[in-house]
């Protein structure tokens, strides 16, 4: 696996791997999402407290999970890019940012729609998890704003990578906010010692949704990164050859 990762550092190899992975990721993601959605929306029993309103969990939790995962991915890529100077990691960060921002927005939006029937409010300013998730949206937007202001690509890459690393402190804050402070959010349901505290008929569609949406996110990320790699390497020979052979 290390050899594979090492090869992925080369843009040309990455491009061909990504091209072959994308359909697999997308279709399997779509299948899992379909299973998750159908079972979650139609077949899972209604919650004894919330009735049918809880079903938004099948969109909200995957979106929130992906928003955090995308940022962690960006932080790891920023580390790789700055310490080991692997250029393609910068392309990954650039591509992941708008996706992560949209999923964060989706998490906040669906969370707000869920909060209205469940907690009686669209938003709760004292809640640490809501606040830190909103902060993460600002971190994404700040990153994109910084990139847009620096015309030189290499400088923009490195400076915004530093920014991402600084903001990475927010990830554990979001995750542990329900433990450290009192919050309207409930505590951990899935990653608890003693196993998940949710009924299996609700659990399996949830896990399927999370995995499915992550796979779709992965495929979208690879598509965007491919485009970004094309843009960055537009002067190199392997791209010209691929164009001549009609492979792009």
């Amino acid at each position: 696996m290390w050899i594979l990762l090492h090869k992925m550092a080369s843009p040309k190899y990455f491009y061909s791997i990504a091209s072959s992975l994308i359909p697999w990721l997308f279709i399997s993601g779509l299948l899992m999402m379909t299973y998750g959605m159908i079972n979650g929306l139609f077949y899972a029993p209604p919650d004894y407290q919330q009735g049918d309103a809880f079903r938004i969990i099948y969109v909200h939790v995957p979106a929130a999970y992906i928003s955090m995962m995308a940022y962690s991915l960006m932080a790891i890529a920023a580390f790789i890019a700055l310490i080991w100077r692997i250029k393609i990691a910068h392309a990954v960060i650039v591509s992941a940012a708008p996706l992560g921002a949209w999923f964060t927005f989706l998490a906040l939006l669906t969370g707000s729609l869920w909060g209205r029937p469940m907690w009686g409010t669209w938003w709760e300013w004292g809640d640490p998890r809501l606040t830190s998730e909103l902060l993460m949206l600002f971190l994404y937007l700040g990153y994109m704003a910084l990139r847009a202001s620096i015309p030189d690509v290499i400088k923009a890459d490195k400076l915004s990578a530093i920014l991402i690393l600084i903001g990475a402190i927010n990830i554990p804050v979001i995750h542990y906010s329900v433990e450290w402070w009192t919050s309207l959010h409930q505590g951990s349901t899935l990653l608890k010692s003693g196993g998940p505290s949710i009924a299996t008929s609700m659990l399996y569609p949830l896990i399927a949704s999370i995995i499915g949406l992550s796979l779709i996110f992965g495929s979208l990320l690879l598509i965007r990164t491919k485009a970004e790699v094309l843009n960055r390497e537009r002067h190199s020979r392997w791209i010209k050859e691929m164009i001549l052979k009609g492979e792009i």
Binding site: L135, M136, F138, G142, A145, L146, S149, L159, I162, G167
Partner: protein
């Protein structure tokens, strides 16, 4: 025979030179202070609240205004040196760059943060705060401005080459400053309602220590990258 080049010499020289620079350009310090006073005073006019409400919203408003006016001072931290070429000499010095950055941050805090802290009781009085509450507010602003100097230095070092970077620096620094803002304002409110303030103070001092440990290095790294 030249004296040995020590870290203390480098730190104090950079610190004193920056202080001297701020002293020679008082408008750089005064303008944000006046902004702070004017907008904080304008709030009660706009919001049209009575006495009790003013006391409640006071801490939050003062904190936000303090942060906003302080953010206005940040862009002088490195831009002035970049313009006249001094930044090159600072970066090419045998002294470690994080040390010189720390000296700049301390000089910035003393010349921009302390005046803000000193002015804040006046605003506290506008918002009908008691004397002891004002003391708590000063304590929280002490940590807050120092944290903002540290974190703002990272924002400033990332945006040197950009024109009109004020707004961008604010955009980058505010998300990271939110915890301090929340704890700072809440600590004052908690004190007003009679609860203990020590947890908030501990948090803010811990935040400052944490920022102190990485901000000079992050700023130095950003300065070196932006040196093209």
């Amino acid at each position: 025979m030249p004296k040995r080049l020590t870290l203390i010499r480098g730190f104090t020289a950079m610190f004193r030179r920056d202080l001297l620079q701020y002293k020679k350009r008082p408008s750089q310090i005064l303008n944000p202070l006046i902004f702070f006073i004017m907008i904080s005073a304008a709030f009660p006019f706009a919001v049209n609240t009575d006495q009790t409400q003013l006391v409640q919203i006071g801490p939050g408003i003062i904190w936000i205004m303090a942060i906003l006016s302080y953010l206005l001072t940040l862009h002088h931290l490195y831009n002035d040196d970049a313009e006249d070429g001094c930044l090159d000499y600072i970066m090419l010095s045998p002294q470690p760059l994080p040390l010189l950055v720390l000296a700049k941050i301390c000089a910035h805090w003393i010349s921009s943060g302390l005046p803000l802290i000193i002015i804040s009781p006046i605003i506290g009085i506008i918002y009908q705060m008691q004397v002891d509450t004002i003391l708590i507010m000063i304590a929280t602003l002490f940590f807050g401005t120092f944290a903002l100097s540290l974190v703002g230095s990272i924002g400033a070092s990332l945006t040197i080459s950009i024109d009109n970077s004020n707004i961008l620096v604010s955009l980058l620094v505010l998300p990271i400053m939110m915890p301090v803002l929340i704890f700072g304002a809440r600590t004052i409110e908690l004190y007003q309602s009679g609860a203990t303030t020590m947890s908030g103070m501990y948090f803010m001092s811990a935040y400052c220590m944490f920022a102190l440990s990485f901000s000079p290095f992050a700023s130095a790294a950003a300065l070196r990258i932006g040196a093209d």
